[in-house]
Symmetry: C2
Subunit: 197 residues, 2 copies
């Protein structure tokens, strides 16, 4: 299994992290993102969206970090990280969608602006960050993990850009339940870090 990877990408990191937690070997292929390698062959031929991560497993090519987490969890995680009963799966999906939508538009965009000098409305990003982090904090005041009574890919999908928010001026101090949840993920056996986290 081959992962086209970027070390400072939270989306690539979440795939590396799940593979590590599951002890699944994966060959990393570093992509020179700053040099635009994701917009050229061979990456663009694998993913017309021009983004990393991209996963290659035999003839299968997958884009989108959340979809890749689903693949890894279904192939190597049995029912532990992504159960297939309707209720558990749908509850996990709710949070994969937050990882695809509210989190990148909030703390993710704030980091892109501050750390990578991307042009975007930082006030809107900070406002969205405050909104989703307050919702997550209220949710996590009641429980240890986002869904069920154990870590699932919901936690792995949502954590990176939340924990990296300080690089975009969105620290977790006002959200102690979120900070404690990040701490629980960091304490999992075979946890691996990434730059900034």
């Amino acid at each position: 299994m081959k992962l086209y990877d970027l070390d400072v990408s939270g989306n690539c990191y979440k795939v590396r992290l799940l593979c590590s937690l599951l002890s699944v070997p994966v060959d990393l292929v570093p992509v020179d993102f700053m040099g635009g390698a994701h917009k050229r062959s061979p990456v663009i031929d694998l993913n017309a969206f021009g983004q990393v991560p991209v996963l290659e497993d035999g003839g299968l090519i997958l884009r989108d970090s959340q979809a890749i987490l689903v693949y890894v969890a279904r192939k190597w995680g049995a029912e532990t990280w992504l159960p297939t009963d309707a209720e558990s799966m749908a509850q996990i999906m709710q949070w994969l969608m937050v990882a695809e939508n509210e989190i990148p538009r909030g703390p993710g965009d704030a980091r892109l602006h501050d750390k990578f000098k991307m042009q975007l409305d930082i006030a809107v990003a900070r406002e969205k960050a405050a909104r989703i982090l307050a919702l997550m904090n209220a949710h996590l005041e009641q429980r240890q993990w986002l869904v069920l009574d154990r870590p699932t890919i919901a936690d792995i999908a949502c954590m990176p850009y939340v924990a990296l928010g300080w690089e975009g001026g969105v620290p977790l101090d006002p959200y102690p339940a979120v900070a404690a949840w990040v701490g629980r993920i960091k304490a999992l056996p075979r946890f691996i870090p990434m730059p900034g986290l």
Copy 2:
């Protein structure tokens, strides 16, 4: 099963559509969105995100249209609409993520601007619409459905805001393979329409 619903919402519609295709009965509870009912009790108590659709099934409450599609497909669709093998499921997830990200930020936002007078950068929305529709058109030139050889929830999730794009100045004329795919969905047994589609 109860769906808190808005007739002009493509996200609510995709849930109504899947229920109809699967002959699953669902009680619709119209939400006075223009009157702000989604920001007040009882809807806000069911969904802190303050959005529709919300699905209630016994004690289970679900938000996010993509997550609700997963629930309905897993509970009543057997392996047909959302297979559980790693590869098929991950390929469907790729497109559920497009339905959560690129499509709302493109044709979805363009429609919000033109039809519902929402303040947003219409030039950016049109540019993103052109980008995702070109990608989908190239993909659909090679196949009948987004994933596998049959309709799945990938198609149901992605179709509504693509087909409604004309309400935001994003018609499908430049994307004939996308238009043909919308036509194939409309031809499915038990298809139901929505306003504008």
